[in-house]
Subunit: 212 residues, 4 copies
DNA sequence: TATGAATGAGTCTTCATTCAT
DNA sequence: AATGAATGAAGACTCATTCAT
């Protein structure tokens, strides 16, 4: 594998970014295995060889693209949550709004979403980036919760769980629609569950003492 | 694409099954893209050309393998749950046992699990098989719940949710370990959540009436 | 690097040999680096892919070709020497005849000769094959000498030296002609030297006792 | 192919020499085909494009390097021989010393030696430079012999032969070691041969009159 | 002169599929 | 039905050289 260059001149830096952006776009839309370096070069308006000035191989383009964009594709939820000013006193309404907005944002990422999940599960390095981004997201949510006045046992795990639940719901609603399901009811159930998770529920408190 | 034969003689049927089994095994362990037809043929103890007597193409082997084995790989949970005799009166303990057993079973499927998730997200036909199997699983769980004496609102959705949550937890515990998390606490939280989902919780009942 | 097949059917065995023969011929005539697998395939009247059924890569074709042909290209001398019936009693005349015949045979290998020497010096595996063939040749010459009635000190080294000297002369006369040299005289000098090497020369016997 | 500049300013001359030196060093150590112009430029501390200010192509760097350094790599023997003051009266001891010193010097050139031999045999222009340098060396040795008081028939050819034999021995001892050979005996045989070549040997004188 | 970015033809290699027997 | 040989299109990557600044 040849050496790669660090772009120095302005135009070259732009070229490198262009390769990441266009390459990642193609990969997300058409699938990593269906995209070849020639098409990336063409789409980025450069020659094939130029790709290899800045990247060891096609894979590296993918990884750079993931590091640049994965957060906003997989966890747009964070940014949306950050804008909720009165989360603690208004949890169910706020969280429902957040979920619905997240679903909307994720609608644009349908193809990318599937392709990236596919890569996460077939490529160890991609998997690691996912884990890192997920951890980052968890920490951010935890911070938001703390800033919003929460101070819970196992709060970080709960933040993690929140993220996973939201993503699950978004997947269900955006990509996995089973026609016979009543998704509105499901959404309310989910919010009820999250209430149990984030608020002291006397019933649940009792259950806590049950050893299982 | 040549025509394929429907095997009639016993030996031919056995050959076809052998191709499915060995091919699917190789795909699960090494990845669909890394396995070529020559190695499948070799592993199945037949000649390369003979594969195409029974299958239009490599892809068909995958699909047949999925139809045959996907259920037991992705939803071993069902079989385990079926054996719990006293689910309703003993939910938290029973469900914890079920989860732990499921985790154990899934440990053996680590490679297959990732590869199949990868294919689910990159291959529409695989995706459809997943959806079918998931629906089947949901219906079975719903039946089990009914037989166990449950009669809940949105029971099917809840069954669906139960499956998703279990799978999420198994993934977390088997494949996605973040070192800093306390997985024991997380497991208990999950069970608490499932209690909220399957039992009337006064606190939650109140919340139900909140419009969000 | 993919797996290779052992040809089983007659035609396939012929195909493999054809690849070795035609590939080696092209390499010898045009140079290893100038020959590509496509041209080998074309010259052997097969498809590019078929080359890789029997060889891991281009390099393996070279090595197989060397093992098959290097001996007769580099050491045709042996076969020629074998035919001399009265070597011991007629050494100078016989050895001159052998040298001249060897030169004639080697004239046909001019291109091959240079290319192979080039590869010997740039490719460790080729180098090793050269060494093996050279040792083989040395042993054969040693046997011929013994059969011809020689029984000398360090006879094997002398055989080795004989080969090297012959090759040197052939190179000089066939490929390295400096116009200003009198090659006929040189040839006679060489034969004189070989006499010194293979016969008891009183003068030299004295020198033997000199410690240097 | 663009035109090249003849460097006039001191710095430019230094740059050109740097390219030759560093380029030739890389080629000798890593092989002509494995070294690319980018790495030569980098190693010479200039930019890629700048190489082409001084050289038409990569090949020209090689040729310039050869013209500059080939003599001292291939024929260090000359310089060593030049220092022997009493060659004629002390031939066997002197020549043995010369050979051993030459072997020592050549030990440092192992990689270069092979690479250059490889190029000699694959590149006609390189071949020509080799021939020129060899002729130069022959003439120098001839001069040394004359100055040392020799006045032999075919003295130039003998000088040429001397060089070739020395190189052969050095190769054998430095690079081609066959474990089963007794190299000390071989060295003595070689010196004995050279005695036959450079001194009137009565036995051999007789043989001279044999017509073969 | 010098820089480093850009070019694009060329090469090896893979593999699903088809063919001949 | 079965074998294993053959096909050939396609893709990743290299690198000497030229270009724009």
């Amino acid at each position: 594998m040849g050496n790669v260059r660090q772009p120095i001149k302005k135009k070259a830096i732009a070229t490198k970014e262009m390769i990441i952006d266009k390459g990642f776009e193609l990969i997300c839309n058409n699938g990593y295995h269906s995209v070849n370096t020639a098409s990336i070069a063409k789409y980025a308006n450069i020659s094939t060889g130029n790709v290899y000035q800045y990247f060891h191989d096609k894979h590296e383009i993918l990884l750079d693209g993931l590091n640049k964009y994965l957060g906003s594709i997989m966890f747009p939820f964070i940014e949306i949550l950050e804008k909720e000013s009165d989360l603690k006193n208004n949890f169910p309404v706020a969280i429902k709004r957040v979920i619905l907005k997240t679903i909307e944002v994720k609608k644009d990422y349908k193809k990318a979403y599937h392709e990236l999940l596919s890569l996460e599960n077939s490529d160890l390095e991609v998997f690691k980036i996912f884990k890192n981004k997920e951890l980052e997201a968890t920490n951010k949510v935890n911070d938001i919760l703390t800033k919003s006045g929460y101070n819970l046992d196992n709060q970080k795990q709960k933040a993690h769980f929140l993220i996973n639940i939201i993503n699950l719901v978004c997947e269900e609603l955006n990509y996995h629609q089973h026609e016979e399901f009543n998704y509105d009811a499901m959404l309310n159930e989910v919010i009820r569950l999250l209430m149990c998770l984030f608020y002291n529920c006397p019933n649940c408190r009792i259950q806590k003492n049950i050893t299982f």
